[in-house]
């Protein structure tokens, strides 16, 4: 068997190095097909498109894509919990074709249910195979998954993607953190998948057990998801140093799929998987399409091959910008600079200043004297906003409190244009999270 060029680098060199004009043609054709499929099989989509005066045959060019109405999560909430129960009219297949149930975490409101057929579930693990291969996972890896295996899609697809790639997958389900660390040590696992918060928390716990993850465990690569941390340089550095491993980010969502990934070149951003998704970037305020690099907008995402409960022009509210340079890895898939830097509905005004919570994380995590955990609270006293930041000083830095405070105030002011009420807490007393963290609390009455 003659191997084709790139077969050892890319999960699929056919799609991942396709010239951009061909890639765009492929996406347009697939978009036309998925819109036609949804129009024919889902009452919700047919009504949505009819109300907008659009029929599948009207989509003839890339410009026409924007004529198709966007779908918001709130629209999904309205139609769910009705027949076909519990998914409602967005479902494109008979209920008996549905084999997987998952739901969103409900961080922004009532959870949304997501149906997948077995074919869709294959598609999920296909998307994860693209991610994992790009991040250096191979069939020689033994992956540990410290994940609760529950109704949230989280690392379920990572588990199946790992199996598809021929890796050995160790399900670390109901074990507590200490037991998980001991199991990883016992099995000499080479890879780990978890949220950045939990990756840092595990390292902390390991050290308290007398185990140095960088020296005593054999993890070479860590795949992160669920939070932006692995795309925040200071957080990524903390994780890589703690574990002596390469850390890579990826982005996905229950109702979309796993749509972007960092490759081993670590280009300071994530590749959009343009073989499986069509990604549009638009201005948060005007809705104007953004094609050029360097201008932030929110992402509108279409999963091109998800059939059971399609995701067509979904308003993800994820905020990012296109990167300037192509990635040295050779993939022709575009790169979003710095990953997802926030959510359109997370970026909030405090004291009249626009604030993205990830900017605070970048500052806090750049201080080696501080622990991994922090918490931000925004409150209102009368007409005036107040913002407080709780941090933990590491025990070994106890004598440097004043110096840390001075530098932290200065850096926060430089990076976020805000002055904070700083509160130092004893090390280990702020909440620790296993899945998505809730470090930013906006307690102002709305």
């Amino acid at each position: 068997m003659t191997k084709v060029r790139g077969a050892h680098v890319y999960w699929n060199p056919i799609t991942e190095t396709l010239p951009r004009d061909k890639l765009m043609e492929l996406q347009l054709r697939k978009f036309q097909k998925i819109v036609a499929w949804a129009y024919e099989h889902s009452k919700f989509h047919r009504q949505l498109y009819q109300d907008a005066g659009v029929e599948p045959g009207d989509i003839k060019s890339w410009d026409d894509i924007r004529r198709v109405p966007k779908v918001e999560k709130s629209m999904m909430r309205q139609i769910q919990r009705k027949d076909p129960f519990p998914y409602g009219d967005m479902l494109c297949v008979p209920l008996e074709r549905v084999t997987e149930f998952h739901q969103t975490s409900g961080t922004t409101g009532q959870p949304v249910y997501q149906a997948d057929t077995w074919q869709d579930w294959e598609w999920w693990s296909e998307a994860w195979s693209y991610i994992m291969y790009a991040q250096g996972f191979r069939d020689t890896d033994r992956i540990f998954l410290p994940f609760g295996y529950n109704i949230f899609v989280a690392y379920w697809a990572g588990h199946y993607g790992g199996e598809k790639m021929g890796c050995e997958v160790v399900p670390g389900g109901v074990l507590d953190t200490e037991a998980r660390i001991l199991k990883m040590q016992e099995l000499r696992t080479t890879a780990l998948m978890a949220t950045p918060t939990y990756v840092l928390g595990m390292a902390d716990t390991a050290r308290s057990m007398g185990i140095d993850p960088a020296k005593d465990l054999q993890v070479e690569r860590i795949l992160c998801a669920g939070e932006p941390g692995a795309s925040i340089p200071a957080t990524k550095q903390r994780m890589e140093e703690a574990w002596g491993a390469k850390v890579h980010d990826h982005v996905g969502a229950t109702e979309i799929g796993a749509w972007a990934y960092e490759c081993t070149a670590q280009p300071g951003g994530l590749h959009v998987n343009e073989a499986l998704f069509l990604i549009e970037l638009e201005d948060i305020v005007t809705g104007e399409s953004i094609a050029e690099p360097g201008r932030r907008g929110k992402l509108i995402i279409t999963a091109l091959d998800r059939m059971g409960q399609p995701c067509i022009r979904f308003d993800s509210k994820d905020v990012t910008e296109w990167a300037e340079e192509p990635c040295p890895c050779g993939r022709t898939f575009r790169v979003i600079k710095g990953g997802v830097v926030g959510r359109a509905d997370d970026i909030t005004k405090v004291k009249g200043v626009l604030l993205a919570p990830s900017a605070i994380e970048e500052v806090v995590r750049s201080f080696p004297e501080l622990g991994d955990e922090f918490e931000v609270e925004v409150t209102k006293k009368g007409d005036i906003d107040a913002i407080s930041l709780k941090v933990e000083l590491r025990p070994e830095a106890e004598g440097q409190r004043e110096s840390v405070e001075t530098r932290l105030v200065e850096q926060l002011r430089l990076k976020t244009n805000l002055r904070y009420n700083l509160q130092f807490h004893d090390y280990g007393t702020l909440p620790r999270y296993v899945l998505k963290s809730k470090r930013f609390k906006d307690l102002r009455p709305h």
Binding site: V4, R5, I14, R29, W123, E126, L276
Partner: protein, 63 residues
């Protein structure tokens, strides 16, 4: 074993095999007389065939 380039002919050959597998799996479902052990396993083959189409056949359409 050296490196070769991907060309349209190679994709066409792969697509031919993919369509053969799809046809055989669909025929199995027709032939099985409702035997679940056959029908469901053929169904899983078809889901994998769809992934092959995504990775190979769909691309062939734009080359």
């Amino acid at each position: 074993m050296g490196d070769g380039d991907i060309d349209k002919h190679m994709l066409q050959e792969m697509d031919d095999r993919i369509q053969s597998i799809k046809k055989a799996a669909l025929e199995l479902q027709e032939l099985c007389g409702g035997i679940q052990a056959v029908y469901r396993n053929a169904d899983r083959i078809l889901a994998s065939v769809k992934m092959l189409e995504i990775n190979v056949s769909d691309v062939l359409d734009v080359l």
